[in-house]
């Protein structure tokens, strides 16, 4: 639609063309993030996330340094002579060696902080719009409901990638610097792509889930409770059922585990090396994740069609 010269505002005529609603979705995402960054609790959680990242970052450095520099030496620890490699035995489970499991493990542990951040983000970014009725302001502008949801998903997606994908890429870069960087970077490009793939799976699924649950429950406390139900209760239930019934498919109830499996598939991990065992097959995990995403999309679509935004 052509822009008109407006005299209402009493300034020089504007001859530009307003941009489309996709641009507005980006503007909405930026504003949402700006609002979120004003939350002190979020900064605390950022600190916690940074702590997890720092642990992986320095532990990876420590393991490589000890292996390379002191591998054969013995040190006295509390008066007892110990081979230095034994000191880092407790880190072996984390596979801090720049392999696919390093990134998988990092994202797994970072997930504990991430789900809390997302519960907060959902209620602040989306729930508030519904609970306080500020949605009409956005929807009175030339954007569609899809663009509103896209803007919110972009904001949540940015948050997820800041917490997960970006630090994982930094770990990949660090691993290259710790080992033979030329061969590491060239031989492990697929790992980098896997990290991006993992990040994409998390971004798409979790952003849809956050927006859908925030629209559903709206307030912070119920949001946290629902989130706890999905990521803590269902996880315990899935583990218990998988163990008792000896059917690994029950682990699909644990969404974070399913996302983890999808991520490991992206990273090219052999299914047999995944712990804890037994685990569902990769295709089952993909199906579960796709099912959650589609369910969220259908719910959001229903809300878009109804859009009884004011109760």
């Amino acid at each position: 639609m052509a822009a008109r010269t407006d005299d209402l505002l009493r300034y020089r005529p504007w001859r530009g063309q307003p941009r489309g609603p996709l641009h507005a979705a980006v503007a909405l995402a930026r504003m949402s993030l700006r609002v979120l960054l004003r939350q002190r609790l979020l900064w605390g959680l950022f600190g916690l996330g940074l702590l997890v990242f720092s642990f992986f970052f320095y532990a990876q450095y420590l393991v490589v340094w000890i292996t390379n520099q002191l591998g054969t030496e013995t040190v006295r620890f509390a008066g007892i002579p110990v081979t230095v490699t034994n000191l880092t035995k407790f880190l072996d489970r984390l596979n801090l060696n720049g392999t696919a499991h390093t990134f998988g493990n990092f994202i797994w542990f970072q997930g504990y902080v991430l789900v809390i951040v997302l519960a907060l983000a959902g209620s602040v970014l989306v729930g508030n719009d519904f609970a306080h009725g500020s949605l009409p302001y956005y929807l009175s502008k030339p954007i569609g409901r899809r663009h509103y949801l896209l803007g919110k998903c972009l904001a949540v997606g940015t948050l997820i990638n800041v917490f997960v994908t970006v630090p994982a890429v930094v770990l990949w870069v660090e691993a290259g610097l710790l080992f033979d960087w030329e061969t590491y970077y060239l031989n492990n490009v697929d790992l980098l792509l896997g990290v991006f793939g993992y990040g994409t799976v998390l971004t798409v699924t979790l952003s849809l889930l956050v927006v859908a649950t925030a629209i559903w429950v709206r307030r912070t406390v119920p949001m946290v409770m629902v989130w706890m139900g999905i990521f803590a209760f269902l996880r315990m239930l899935g583990e218990q059922l998988a163990r008792e019934l000896e059917t690994p498919a029950w682990r699909l109830l644990d969404l974070w585990n399913s996302l983890y499996l999808c991520g490991l598939w992206c990273l090219g991990v052999d299914h047999e090396t995944i712990r804890p065992v037994p685990q569902p097959r990769f295709w089952q995990a993909w199906l579960a994740v796709a099912g959650v995403s589609v369910a969220c999309l259908l719910y959001l679509r229903r809300r878009i069609q109804a859009v009884e935004i004011v109760q």
Binding site: P18, A24, P142
Partner: protein, 339 residues
């Protein structure tokens, strides 16, 4: 249900009498409701509303639950009609393109309280699709227009009700919309600010904008416009100017106060008119006036004019007492007129 001046449709600038050829040449109305119904579950909020607006200021009045807010939200594409169609210049109101032509000032005033007024309006400008520089320019312009430029850096949390109202109006003006929908725009604004905003609304209307204003403050609405849409139980009960609507209220006798030198003599003469159903002479000490009640206003005023000429009466003042929005609303809604 009061019949309207046309089959439930009033277009202020388009003559309804235009022939089919002429109509096809006209652009589509700015805002058009065509047989629109809206259900909330089992509740019928809007019932077969047909309405067309093309310019000027229109007041939207009605009791609580009459369907005013639903009508405004449908006009702004916030809701989708269950039946019928709402268009803005021929574009479906649900389509985001239509909202380039519409500015909306909702009655709620919930924002992100941590944002400053300036930042809020700027973000809204960005949502309209403007570049950063243009958004900044427009933000400053609209804030100036509503008298908030100097106070816009404070956080919204610290704003008074009136300041919030101004910010809400500012964000509605950002993209210079052809149609401005204002839901209780003057609520909480001090008298000076109210006059400023009334002037702004009148200026906008003078520039060819169409304003649809919902308000419970009928006295204020009367200062702005005498063209109203009266809603009752989800229907448009009446549309038109107050005079047009009053003329259609044949069942309700019109009350008129007439100041003359000899009120008793006039009262005697008036009782001879078949339309007059009651006459009351104001007590001594007042200006000397008669308050009468007459059926069929058009016929009465014609007969009264003839009477004045024949009897050579000197009428100092003639004042209809119930042509206010309040009184007419009371008649139409069958109550006190309270909204």
């Amino acid at each position: 249900m009061i019949p309207t001046t046309s089959p439930a449709t009033v277009t202020r600038t388009q003559p309804l009498a235009a022939g089919p050829e002429d109509r096809s040449a006209l652009p589509p109305p700015l805002l058009l409701f065509e047989q629109v119904s809206k259900w909330y579950g089992t509740v019928l909020a809007l019932n077969q509303v047909t309405l067309a607006l093309d310019g000027g200021i229109t007041g939207l009045v009605g009791a609580n639950g009459a369907g005013k807010s639903t009508l405004l939200r449908l006009a702004n594409g916030q809701l989708r009609p269950t039946l019928g169609r709402v268009t803005v210049r021929g574009i479906d109101a649900w389509d985001w393109h239509a909202r380039r032509l519409v500015g909306y000032c909702p009655d709620i005033d919930s924002f992100y309280e941590d944002l400053s007024g300036r930042r809020f309006v700027w973000v809204m400008a960005r949502l309209c699709g403007y570049s950063r520089a243009e958004a900044t320019r427009r933000t400053e312009a609209v804030l100036e227009r509503v008298g908030m430029r100097d106070r816009a850096d404070r956080k919204l949390r610290g704003y008074s009700k009136g300041m919030r109202q101004r910010v809400k109006i500012a964000q509605a003006l950002l993209h210079d919309p052809e149609l401005l929908i204002l839901d209780e725009p003057l609520s909480g604004i001090d008298p000076v600010g109210r006059q400023e905003l009334l002037t702004l609304f009148q200026e906008l209307a003078a520039r060819g904008k169409c304003l649809l204003i919902s308000s419970h403050e009928l006295e204020v609405l009367e200062k702005l416009t005498n063209h109203v849409v009266i809603m009752a139980r989800g229907r448009v009960a009446a549309v038109g100017t107050l005079q047009q609507i009053r003329d259609l209220l044949d069942d309700f006798p019109v009350s008129v106060r007439v100041e003359v030198a000899d009120p008793r003599g006039l009262a005697r003469l008036l009782l001879g008119l078949p339309e007059v159903v009651g006459v009351e002479v104001e007590p001594k000490g007042s200006a000397g006036a008669v308050v009468l009640r007459a059926r069929h206003p058009k016929r009465f005023f014609a007969a009264f004019g003839q009477l004045v000429l024949n009897e050579r009466l000197e009428v100092r003042r003639l004042e209809p007492l119930d042509e206010s929005t309040h009184a007419i609303l009371g008649y139409v809604l069958g109550g006190s007129g309270k909204t």
